[in-house]
């Protein structure tokens, strides 16, 4: 493996290739910061450029945009509560409170560093275990996905700061929103009030509305102290203390492992991974009450998870030629136009390309870390701009981003509707994050559950007779049991305290 990896490095370290790798991750990061304008827009803009490049270089460029935009998405989430992807929703939960309490620099540093470690772990898995991971991924059929999603949803309903029944209600509400549109199994139109809704509600609208717009409504008219005068931008305030650093080691490690595993499953690996990583930190933390208010381990774990997942997400693409998500499909499309059809033979027929691309992830993550740390100061400076000057621009950026996503006015109107909904929800102490996860995972659950029933003739026993599925069922049962146990023991504790 090492020889081949070195071969890959020799491809990447050619000056022109290196420049494109740099350009890709840099551009990806910048575009990832813009709300609503995500990796898909950036890649489709650059697609024509790749016609003039060789396959390896174009793949390195496009892949760089993809994982670079993950870094950028975290920045927008931390600074402005604007999650561009489902996986950065979790980043908002701890990152935004940190920024609001003048610790944006620290949050950005921890995010960048955890992303770096996560990315590197992901690359290591990619180099060492691409083939075994592929075999595991192929073992995931419809029953396994259905049970995995249930496990993810249960984990999600535990992340709210309020009561669990309310979080669970929000997950179910998210599932309900995810039902809008043509049914994937029969094509039947459900809740399609407007023809534009036939493809369902856009994720970008929902995320930008619930998180971004609702926050602007809340803060636009708020009188706040002119400027935070002591806004810290010295390097000392950015780097975590030794004590903080020590508390981050295990969360990053756990996050990276969860992310590496779930990323390799085609589908919504990164989203499930980051929610699971967050839920796990919160569940097993000794101080769960700190979560939701800017707790660093709660930021580090999902950040490392989603970046690890975005690297191992390339496993099915590279080993099987099967793109795991829409962005990956674009990258594969670009390869095809370059005359290379990715498939199981890619590793054998095109070792330069295969290992060059993997080595570029390694180099790209280092580049991202190096450009991110000096940029932190710049981003924090952005917060020195009074909010009154900043928010009108954010409003317009959200509008243009959402509109350009599908050239749809309906999406802009929906963003507004979800903004108002998100605002009211927060006023009445409902969490928006579980809604989003329910929305992303609900269709996946319905799809795979119904497919399981179709494939196995309505026989429920497949869920426990297939080994991987059985393990996932056991995990869900454990989570439910744990939730009941902890709420009962909490009640006993508080009863004892009052009597």
């Amino acid at each position: 493996m090492l020889d081949q990896f070195l071969l890959g490095l020799s491809v990447v370290l050619q000056p022109t290739v290196l420049i494109y790798a740099f350009f890709g991750v840099f551009l990806g990061q910048l575009i990832g910061v813009l709300p609503g304008v995500g990796a898909i827009t950036a890649i489709s803009l650059l697609l024509p450029v790749t016609f003039y490049l060789d396959a390896t270089t174009s793949m390195i460029l496009l892949a760089g945009i993809y994982y670079g935009s993950q870094y950028g998405g975290s920045i927008a989430s931390i600074l402005m509560n604007l999650p561009g992807t489902p996986s950065s929703v979790v980043t908002c939960l701890e990152g935004y409170p940190l920024a609001q309490s003048n610790r944006a620099g620290l949050a950005l540093f921890v995010a960048a560093f955890s992303s770096f470690v996560g990315g590197m772990v992901g690359v290591a898995i990619l180099v060492l275990a691409a083939i075994p991971m592929t075999i595991i991924a192929l073992k995931f059929g419809a029953p396994e996905y259905a049970m995995l999603v249930i496990l993810g949803l249960l984990a999600a309903s535990m992340i709210g700061t309020g009561s669990q029944i309310r979080s669970f209600a929000m997950v179910v509400l998210g599932i309900a929103l995810g039902l809008v549109g043509a049914d994937a199994t029969t094509g039947y139109y459900r809740f399609v009030a407007l023809p534009e809704l036939a493809d369902g509600i856009s994720l970008v609208s929902l995320a930008m509305g619930l998180f971004g717009v609702s926050e602007i409504i809340r803060n636009a008219s708020k009188r706040r102290p002119a400027n935070a005068p002591h806004l810290s931008i010295s390097m000392r305030d950015v780097i975590p203390t030794r004590e903080q650093a020590r508390s981050l080691g295990m969360p990053i490690l756990r996050g990276s492992s969860i992310g590496s595993f779930f990323g390799a499953l085609p589908g919504t690996g990164a989203a499930i991974a980051s929610f699971m990583a967050y839920a796990m930190e919160r569940r097993f933390s000794r101080s769960p009450e700190k979560f939701g208010k800017g707790h660093l381990p709660g930021l580090a774990a999902p950040e490392s998870a989603n970046n690890a997942a975005s690297q191992t997400g390339f496993i099915p693409t590279l080993t099987l030629g099967v793109p795991g998500d829409a962005v990956m499909a674009l990258i594969v499309g670009a390869l095809i136009l370059n005359g290379i059809i990715p498939g199981p033979r890619l590793m054998v027929d095109q070792p330069d390309l295969f290992w060059g691309v993997i080595a570029s992830f390694f180099v790209g993550n280092i580049i991202l870390l190096l450009i991110n740390i000096p940029l932190i100061k710049l981003w924090v400076l952005l917060l020195r701009i009074p909010y009154q000057k900043l928010y009108p621009i954010i409003v317009v950026m959200i509008c243009v981003g959402v509109y350009s996503h599908r050239t749809s006015v309906t999406d802009v109107v929906l963003t507004l509707a979800f903004g108002i909904l998100g605002y009211l929800m927060k006023n009445y102490r409902f969490e928006p994050a579980p809604v989003l996860l329910g929305f992303v995972l609900g269709p996946l659950l319905e799809d795979n559950f119904r497919r399981t029933m179709l494939l196995y003739g309505g026989d429920f026993s497949v869920f426990v007779t297939r080994p991987i599925s059985a393990v996932l069922v056991a995990g869900s049962v454990f989570l439910i049991g744990f939730a009941i146990f902890s709420s009962v023991s909490n009640r006993n504790k508080s009863n004892r305290a009052t009597t």
Binding site: G141, A184, G339, G343, R345
Partner: protein
């Protein structure tokens, strides 16, 4: 200043009158399509737009209006002015939608001026390597135990799905059709053993076949395909006259003056003749296929008839 504007006004009105075909185009044109930015439809649009702008001497912009299998874009384009400045990149799904939807916001054939097809491509019937010796063996196995062989397809109402249903109708074999989200997901399910057969395009099937993972049992076009002359057709093995070919093409709103549509057709054909375009279309597994408007109209009308029949007989829910 105001007087100047007022005197200029009648002139401006005169210029806004319909212009002769030799002046066309005097401003930028656009190609609308109904799929996501960066997808195959988008890519083909961009490639063709670039070449067309060279021969027409005006920029050609690509606009993505995704939604409801491309019908949102078709509805939008059919209502635009038939002045030749708005084109639509259409795919085989246009004919499927005509058969599948209860009501569409446009007339699928009469609502458009069809210019030319760009590329045509067949589908391939694939199974895991060694599972079935031939297409005949597959159909025999399906007839031996009806409903036990699972065909994975790329979504309900996709051409791939309807092709599978058509195969069942024409051979009398009964399959279990399992929907996935896209050809890639269906292909993964075939690899993992969840389904037994996948019918999809060459870009999905061929790399796996080249690697020895799949056997291609047959190809769905009526004649053998020039790219892969060794592959038998469905027609010659199990279902005579079986002929499914999907396509991409260019259409415009109905009522475009003939001189203008001819000029655009000329530009499309010129673009198709350049290696830049024909190579890219070939790399997507399609055969470049310049056509007349009439040929394209007949192709679409014929496919609408076939799919309407399939949907009614197979009992697929209309939407």
């Amino acid at each position: 200043m105001i007087r100047k504007l007022l005197t200029a006004l009648p002139l401006a009105v005169a210029f806004a009158m319909p212009v002769a075909a030799e002046d066309f185009p005097d401003r930028s044109l656009r190609i609308v399509h109904g799929f996501g930015a960066g997808g195959n439809a988008d890519t083909v649009s961009r490639i063709i737009a670039e070449e067309m702008s060279k021969s027409l001497g005006q920029p050609v912009v690509v606009e993505s209006r995704p939604g409801a299998g491309g019908t949102v874009a078709s509805g939008y384009v059919s209502k635009e002015d038939p002045d030749g400045y708005t084109m639509q990149l259409m795919v085989g799904g246009h004919a499927v939608a005509a058969a599948l939807y209860n009501s569409l916001p446009y007339e699928s054939v009469d609502g458009f001026t069809f210019i030319s097809t760009l590329g045509q491509f067949p589908f391939m019937v694939a199974a895991r390597s060694g599972e079935y010796a031939s297409m005949e063996a597959l159909i025999e196995a399906a007839k031996a135990s009806p409903g036990s062989i699972k065909i994975g397809h790329s979504g309900v109402g996709s051409t791939q799905h309807l092709t599978g249903e058509l195969l069942a109708l024409r051979t009398g074999a009964e399959f279990l059709h399992i929907p996935y989200k896209g050809g890639a997901a269906a292909s993964t399910a075939l690899m993992g053993g969840e389904v037994d057969v996948v019918i999809d395009t060459g870009t999905v099937i061929r790399p796996q076949a080249d690697a020895g993972v799949y056997d291609i049992l047959a190809i769905t076009s009526g004649q053998r395909w020039p790219d892969a002359p060794d592959l038998p057709t469905v027609a010659e093995t199990v279902a005579p006259d079986f002929d499914v070919v999907s396509w991409t093409g260019i259409g415009m709103p109905a009522g475009v003056p003939t001189e203008i549509s001819d000029k655009v057709r000329g530009a499309v054909h010129a673009a198709l003749a350049t290696p830049a375009v024909s190579d890219k279309i070939a790399s997507l597994g399609a055969k470049p296929s310049p056509s007349t408007g009439e040929e394209m109209t007949n192709l679409i009308a014929g496919q609408i008839a076939v799919w309407t029949d399939v949907i009614a007989t197979a009992g697929i829910d209309k939407r």
